[in-house]
Each structure stands twice: as structure tokens, then as C-alpha cells.
Symmetry: C2
Subunit: 414 residues, 2 copies
């Protein structure tokens, strides 16, 4: 597997577009489109929040029907959540307008609205404005390109409080054919995915049967997007959508063979990169904070423990202050809801270069506070908790809790 | 029932003391003692954190043995958690020194160490220094008083990042006798009690059988201390301890009769006041933020929903910014883990004077943002969520998430 510079247009037959439709923001792009020249097998995972945005309900329904998908239209600025029947109508207009515009402006396009995934992100409760939305779909249909730049501009168009676009891409070989998987994601606040993340679209030219694609997606999401958190708030709009158009020419993957494993590993790599970058770009964040729990009895327990540490406000503020307040990490392990013996836990911190043992045999080691602060001053910091109870491990990714987080969210809507 | 100005010395036969022992802080009180002239029936609830501080393990063990308790010795500055066997020894020294000092300096005192509850609060992982601890116990035993001032000074001595002491007191009549219940509490950060709160001691002169006292305590804690949160971090030291010495002269309460109900209501009043004041004095908090969930199917569901709202970082920052970002409240209800129909929810905000409907029938009302901001600018703000699914309700108390919270916790240990 090779990591390459690329996004949603890397895989064969995929195009992207961006547009400044004036949905809510003025003077910046706020709509994006991902389009495949042929219909795709699709899979996805969506928010488990009881309050689901209109586009989430729409997409889940299309997947349930087993529809082939050919386009994903996205907007930033307004989430189209908690918007009642009016919101559902606006979402329908979004899918319909996109299909019609593509059919009018793209050669050989023949889409129904039920071949279009929709996704929205932004303020909850506001209604999407109809005219900019319809106009935006028209603009998108005329702006499609398959260049590296087209993918990057689409990734930028879906940003809200994000400070950087998130893209990832890998390639690998199946049956002597080169397969590409490329994706984009957005997310910075209200990030505590529980099925998927805020918004992410991944495209691939592999040929794969729909049930296997969904299986790979679900398994990979559990170890990547579901293992990050910025603020422990599971959004109403979380959507992770994967489109596979089969254009790379491999023999369709129809069973869990070596090719399936290869594909899943590559999908994991792309998903992990996107998820980590989302945590690193958490609202107000200055640092990526990773927690590895090893030596756990079960993988599920390792996951619960790791997530408890990266979601603790007290741990997150200590990381912000580069303060080796390891007691807060022990405390967060302790209230995670998993039984363990604190006397068995070894706790380390590392910046990737130096690794330091802070706590063992129930007590603090004689570590140097100065050295610990130096390690924690890095831009990417990892806590390693060895439970010494088994052989399972898990990794979770979060960020520090900063003054800027409070500034951003004390006044987000204005 | 009458609310009165008072604390742990209000009930007959209870004394309190404070001392500047130099445990960690210099130049301020950091130890406190609550003492009853006769042994007491005791009850308590303690943290459910797997990582339990030495004093918590000690107290739970005394309660399990059914010991009568005559004194509670407390220190602030060092939590004596994650301190291994050395920590257990220091806790033993604390109980032993306190019993010995009381026996030496107080007329008729005859305590064993197993009649002394201990409690510690402060930094996790540091060891208690032996000499100041022993010296402090001596000072406390010579400083006992039953005045209003003595109670207040004890309440101040256990503060860490608290900005105000928390005390509450009520009186009521049983069998023609006046019963007093008075308490103190501390807590400002690492507050997400799950059995009890950081530290709280309540004294009463009622005569009551131990199992009934424990029953009342457990039930009251579930609706008061367990319904507050500052930062969703359940501490290693949470301890709520109630001592009943029977000196008011009522016939001992031995069954769940009217007198038991009277006592429980009074205990609820004291506990609720202490708990609310703790939320209001959350680290960096500028506002008390209350959430009432009504019309829920079950009380348990109402509690889960209410706590989900008050613990959301995004809701808390919006409250800080006096921003009526009600979508975040709906979102927090949605990910609470309880099923409901968002279309049925009515959402109001109130400052106790004006009540405003923000969301109904699945959509925002046409409310005035200006008016909403005015309501949310109050020092005590309430969100009311009517689920329209049943008749159960619950209230939870939290606070806003401010820049000052990040400042305090980015650099707590230094």
C-alpha cells in the first residue's frame, strides 16, 4: 500500500466541484459535489443521535433500499437538523436539483434524485434557503473536474470551524490492477462520532459487492472515526459515505478473501488519517492527543478506557497546559465503567521521540517534571496505559481543551 | 421544615474545628474536624470510580463493619489518591492521630481509630506529609467549638478551587422535638458525582436506625449530588457522610413512617442546597445552569436526558455566551442514549422571571433572539424540556464552561 497525495478525485472516474452558493456564508465556497461517471456501490455509517438531520434520514433510506449512488452533494453553514418537514422538503429539493442539473449539464448523466446522497453541516435549527441551494446545484454541475485541485477545493468548501481541509489517499494492487481510495472529511466541533463522523466522503475505483463494502466500512469506522472526540458531543449530522465505482478493473470482490483484507487495510489507512486530522483540528486545539491502552482484557474494554481519557476535560486542559497531571488520566480510566486493578497500571507519556514512565505499582515514579513538560509541549502527544491484564489494545485520538475552544463556542452563531 | 443559617454544628452535640497544618497550602486553613460528643449512627455514599482514594477505602470499610462514628477529619490540598500502600499508611496515621489527640484533649473522649472517618481532597498522586498531618490533628482537637463560626471555618478549611464555602441547614419537628440537619460540602472541579460528591459532611441530632439512615442517604443522593456536574469527571475521592447522634431526643426512627419521610425531605433540602451551590461554584463558572426534563416516560430517562444537557461542553459554552443555541440542547438530548420523538419536544428557557418557548413541533419558534439573550444573561438559567411522553421529571444542575475553567485547569498543580 502506498500513501499518496490525493483526495476524492484520485480514484478512476470520480470528479469533484465546489461553489459559492451563498447558503449562509458570503464570499466563500459553501457547496461541494462528488460525482462518479458510472453509478456506484455505496456504503455508509451515520449518527446514532436520536435527533437526526434531514440529509442523514435521506441517505439512510437510500442505503436501506440498496440504491446505486452516483453523486454526493454537500453544503456547509446550515446543518438542516431540527428543521421539521420544511427541512425534509429542502433536502428533497437539494437531491432533486442536483440530479436535474447533472442531467442537464453533464454528458451521459442520467440520475434520479434517489441516486444522490446529501450532506449538510453547520448551525442546527436554521432552514436552508431554497434559491441559493438550487443555484448552487447548477453551479456545481458545471464545475466538475478530476484534478488534484478539484478535490482539494471540494474538501475546503465543506469546512465550517475547521482550519485545514482533511484529505487522504492510498493506492494498492489487486489482480494486477491499481486501486485508489481517496477521501475528504470535515469536522472540528460537535465531534464525538458514534457510527461515523461529521461528514466524510471516500471514493474508490475498486469493484466490490455492496454487503462486503458495508462490512469493511463498519469495521473500519469502529476503529477510526468512532475513536476520536473533540468535545464529547455526538452530532446530528455525522455521515461517512463510501462510493465504489469498480472502474479499476479488478474482479469484483465478493468474499472475505485476501483482496478484501487488502482493501480493508487501505480503507483503514485513509479513514484513520482523516479521523486523526479531524481530532488534531478540533475547535481551538493546539495539540493532537492520542491515548493508547494496551494489555487490556478485551478490545472493547481497551476502547472504552482510551476514549474515557481523551474525552476528559481535566485531562484535556492539563495537556493544553503541558502539565503532567497523570492523576487525571488515572481518574479518567477509573470512571470509564471498566473494572481493573489500578495497582497494575503502568502509565507513560511520549512525544514520539522520548517515552517516560510516570506511574507504576500504584504510585508515581521519580520522574522529572521538567522533562515531562518538555514531552507534553510537543504538537502530538501520546499517553500509553498498560493495564497488564491481557493482550488487547486500542487507540483513541482527541485534542487539548483551550481558551480558544471556549471563545469559538461561546459565540458560534453570531 | 425551616431553612436556617447554619452548618455542621447546628445539630445538638456536634462541634467543628479548623487548622492551618501546612499540608500543602501555606498560610491558610487546610484541615477540618467534625466531632460529636457521643458516637453516631453513620451512613455514606462514595465514588464509583475504580480508582479510589485511601480515605474512601477506609470509610467504606468502617461502614461495612457497621462501626459507630464519632469524628470526621478532613484535609485539603492533597487527595491521597493513587498513592499506593504509603497512602494507606498515611490515612491510617490520620485516623489514629485524630483519635489519640481527641482522647488526650477532649473531656470524656474515648475513640478508637475505627470511629474516625477520613476525607482528603486536592492533587492526585502526591503523598500526605506525616508531620504536618499529626500536628494538624493535635491543633484540631484543641480548637473544637459548636458556634456558627466554627462550622463556617471548617467549611472554608476544606475548600480547594472553591470560591465560596457551601453550607446548608434545616430544622423540623418529630415527636415534639426539634431536629436539626446541617451540612457542609466542597467541590468545584472534577465534579460529576456518581454515588456522592467530592466531600460533604452532614450532621443531625435525630435518632434513627442505621439501615434507614443509609436508605434515606442513598435515595436523596440519587436526586441531588448525583444530579450535578461541573466537568463530567467523576473524582477518586467523592464522599458524602452523614452522622446522626440521636441527641434531639426523638423516639428512634426504625421504620419508614411519617417521621422517616419528614427526615428524608429535610435531608433532601440540605443535600440539594449543597449540591446546587457546588454546581454554581464550578471551576471558572459564572452561571448556575439548571435543566428540568418533564413529561418523560420514566424518572430514569428524565435523569439521563437532564444530565446529558448540563454536561455538554457545547451547551455549556453557549450558556457562557448567553447564546440561545437551542440546537445544541436538542443534540445533547438526542445522544443521551434514550429514545424519544424529537417532534414532540417543547424547549423553553427561563431566568425564573420570564419563560420563553424556543422549539416546538420539530422547529424553532419565532422567538426574539434579543429577549432570549437577556434571559440567558441571568446568573441562574434554566432550560425546560417537555418530552410529552409521560409524567416523570428530573432536574440536573451544572454551570457554564468559561475561559477561566481552562485557565484554572491548564495550570492547576503549579
Amino acid at each position: 500500500m502506498k500513501r499518496i497525495d490525493g483526495g476524492v478525485t484520485a480514484a478512476k472516474g470520480f470528479f469533484a466541484a465546489n461553489a459559492a452558493a451563498g447558503i449562509k456564508y458570503q464570499g466563500r465556497d459553501d457547496m461541494a459535489l462528488v460525482y462518479s461517471e458510472v453509478p456506484c456501490v455505496a456504503a455508509g455509517t451515520f449518527t446514532t443521535n436520536v435527533v437526526k438531520a434531514s440529509p442523514v434520514v435521506w441517505d439512510m433510506n437510500l442505503l436501506k433500499k440498496g440504491n446505486k449512488i452516483q453523486a454526493v452533494v454537500l453544503n456547509s453553514g446550515i446543518a438542516n437538523a431540527c428543521t421539521g418537514t420544511v427541512g425534509d422538503e429542502m433536502n428533497d429539493i437539494m437531491a432533486t436539483s442536483m440530479a436535474e442539473a447533472l442531467n442537464a449539464n453533464v454528458a451521459n448523466a442520467d440520475l434520479t434524485k434517489e441516486m444522490v446522497f446529501t450532506a449538510s453541516t453547520g448551525v442546527i435549527g436554521m432552514q436552508l434557503p431554497k434559491e441559493p441551494l438550487v443555484k448552487g446545484c447548477g453551479m456545481l454541475s458545471k464545475a466538475l473536474g478530476d484534478s488534484r485541485e478539484a478535490a482539494n477545493k471540494a474538501a475546503r468548501a465543506i469546512m465550517t470551524t475547521d482550519t485545514v481541509p482533511k484529505e487522504a489517499c492510498v493506492s494498492f494492487e489487486i489482480d494486477g490492477k491499481t486501486v485508489y481510495i481517496g477521501g475528504m472529511a470535515k469536522g472540528s466541533g460537535m465531534i464525538h462520532p458514534n457510527m461515523a463522523t461529521m461528514l466524510s466522503v471516500v471514493t474508490t475505483d475498486v469493484a466490490i459487492a455492496a454487503p462486503l463494502l458495508q462490512k469493511a466500512v463498519s469495521e473500519v469506522v469502529a476503529d477510526t472515526f468512532n475513536m476520536i472526540s473533540v468535545d464529547r458531543d455526538t452530532s446530528t449530522n455525522d455521515s461517512f459515505m463510501v462510493l465504489a465505482n469498480g472502474l479499476c478493473g479488478n474482479q469484483e470482490i465478493t468474499e472475505e478473501n485476501d483482496n478484501y483484507q487488502l482493501f480493508k487495510e487501505a480503507l483503514y489507512e485513509v479513514s484513520k488519517t482523516l479521523a486523526k486530522n479531524m481530532a488534531k483540528d478540533g475547535e481551538g486545539a493546539e495539540k493532537l492527543f492520542e491515548t493508547v491502552v494496551m494489555g487490556a482484557k478485551t478490545k472493547e474494554k481497551a476502547k472504552i478506557l482510551a476514549k474515557s481519557v481523551i474525552t476528559s476535560n481535566l485531562v484535556k486542559t492539563a495537556i493544553y497546559g503541558s502539565d503532567a497531571n497523570w492523576g487525571r488520566i488515572l481518574c479518567a480510566l477509573g470512571y470509564a465503567g471498566v473494572d481493573f486493578d489500578p495497582e497494575n497500571v503502568d502509565l507513560y507519556i511520549t512525544d514520539g521521540k522520548q517515552k517516560m514512565l510516570l506511574f507504576t505499582k500504584g504510585m508515581a515514579t521519580d520522574y522529572s517534571e521538567e522533562e515531562a513538560t518538555r514531552i507534553l509541549s510537543a504538537k502530538e502527544v501520546t499517553a500509553i496505559c498498560d493495564m497488564h491484564e491481557g493482550n488487547e489494545s486500542a487507540t483513541a485520538w482527541g485534542c487539548d481543551l483551550t481558551h480558544e475552544y471556549v471563545t469559538i463556542n461561546g459565540d458560534y452563531r453570531s
